[in-house]
Symmetry: C2
Subunit: 315 residues, 2 copies
């Protein structure tokens, strides 16, 4: 896998954008923008190339034909894309936003005709800001990259090269499939963690005093800042409504069975099978996508097909 | 806190009973019984005092006035209590079963008039059997001990001394309050982990391939053997029905709100508050129960009152 052949311009130096800047530089020419002077000062003090001047940063990106990475929260993406359209309209764009249909909608609305291939690294912590950045954040992580039938092969390769340079595996997927998957394995778990915590807390402190491992692990993500959780979940509300409804349906069936027959076999066994399937994938060898050359007829479809079998693109 | 003044006889040398034998001996005279010769051989090979002869073990317990600890699964408790009633009827009994009303019902049915003070150490792993035993399992754990208005003070102290000798803090509680709390912070989390896993797995392997920390932690306990989960959850079905119904009600309210207004604020914020309350208790200093002498008028009620404020008894 060759290193990215173009510089990388990162807009937003929070946990994801900042970690990416620290991971890529100096092997890959990379520079960044952040609105906050404190963040930029911290990045510069740590030896990175950063600025609070969005227009100048984008003019520089246009000059060196950088790939521009949108790394701001989805809630402020619109004005950033406006600036890209104004100052670096020909640059290839990608992003690291956790919802892909909404991100694509914003890019299309604010920069029609943009060269844009979306992405989403499945990495993060409950912390945020430059202090939380970590160049190892993406090591062995799964990095979804939008892979549609009309995706430009060279642009796809340029974005995939960034994910690989950051240490991640590339998971090719359609935006809608990504958003459904993210609802199932990331956004819905935030809601089940929240309800587990809320029900567990009860009326006195006795339950929390008795709480041990199952409560600690099962509610961990409920500790994430509510505004960050809301921004992520509410931007994927349609897919989340579906997984939440399935969650409710399965719990109602379990309650009826427990009430009428005294057993929880169906739900517990379904959960156990699913957990074992996850452990097999997470604990097993990472299987590469094989026998496909990016740009050949049907390449995007074939990448997606193999990704549905849990294979990843390694270049 | 004085060490237990009487020997301890442990019936069942699985994860909990075996770990307790390893923790107590040799400072506290302790011996055990297990039905399986392989387990007993392993315990004896490790230098512990164990037997497959239940009648002889109980006769010995009666002779030395040992405290008898019931450490078998709740599903086979009845015949074990029958044997206690036959061979060691005067011995003080306790248990480590995760549901306290059901355990008390079984003891009362099979050994009317038994001297019995129930207990439940909040400790465990997803593993089981002698190989999984660990003398440090109870270190700093919370060990609930049945504390009713008619509980005998000396018997309570004798059982509490075992918990303290094992390295745990004593949480005094009524059986019904314990079972409601266990449903809220242990049994309900098993069901929410199961549903999170089942919904996450979906139809292709793409979601599980993209799964990261929130899914990994939120579904961990779904990996426990289904028969162990069922035995625990189904023995606490009434309390679990209540927490499961509350879980469903909160999720239905969240779904309606998400569908009609596009936000998940109420549930996410309630979950966040509950998680912070848990972190404060779990991460803070352990606060002792103060100003009460076991056996004084109203001692049991006062212990329970302070336990509802998250305080623990340290002797």
């Amino acid at each position: 896998m060759p290193a990215p052949s173009r510089p990388v311009c990162i807009l937003g130096l929070g946990l994801i954008g900042g970690s990416l800047l620290r991971r890529l530089a100096p092997e890959v020419p990379a520079f960044g923008y952040n609105r906050s002077a404190a963040t930029v000062d911290a990045a510069v003090a740590d030896g990175y190339d950063a600025s609070t001047d969005l227009a100048a940063t984008l003019a520089r990106a246009a000059e060196v034909d950088a790939v521009v990475v949108l790394a701001t929260p989805v809630t402020v993406l619109g004005p950033i894309v406006d600036a890209v359209a104004e100052h670096a309209p020909a640059c290839l764009l990608t992003d690291v936003v956790s919802v892909k249909e909404e991100a694509a909608r914003i890019v299309a609305a604010h920069h029609p005709g943009a060269r844009y291939v979306g992405g989403h690294p499945m990495a993060g912590t409950a912390h945020s800001g430059w202090e939380a950045t970590d160049p190892a954040l993406f090591e062995d992580a799964m990095w979804m990259i939008t892979t549609h039938d009309d995706t430009d092969a060279d642009d796809w390769l340029a974005v995939a090269a960034i994910a690989r340079a950051a240490g991640s595996y590339v998971v090719p997927a359609a935006n809608d499939a990504h958003d459904r998957a993210a609802a199932a394995i990331s956004h819905n778990p935030h809601l089940t963690a929240a309800v587990t915590a809320a029900v567990g807390a009860g009326e006195s402190l006795l339950p929390l005093r008795l709480a041990a491992g199952s409560f600690r692990d099962g509610t961990r993500v409920a500790g994430t800042a509510p505004e960050l959780q809301r921004a992520m979940l509410e931007a994927n509300s349609i897919a989340l409504l579906n997984t939440l409804s399935e969650t409710i349906d399965r719990l109602v069936a379990a309650r009826d069975r427990l009430r009428d027959h005294g057993d929880v076999a169906v739900l517990v066994e379904a959960g156990h099978r699913a957990r074992l399937a996850y452990e097999e994938i997470a604990g097993g060898a990472v299987m590469p996508i094989v026998d496909v050359r990016i740009g050949d007829d049907g390449w995007a479809q074939e990448l997606r097909r193999q990704a549905h079998q849990a294979r990843v693109w390694m270049g």
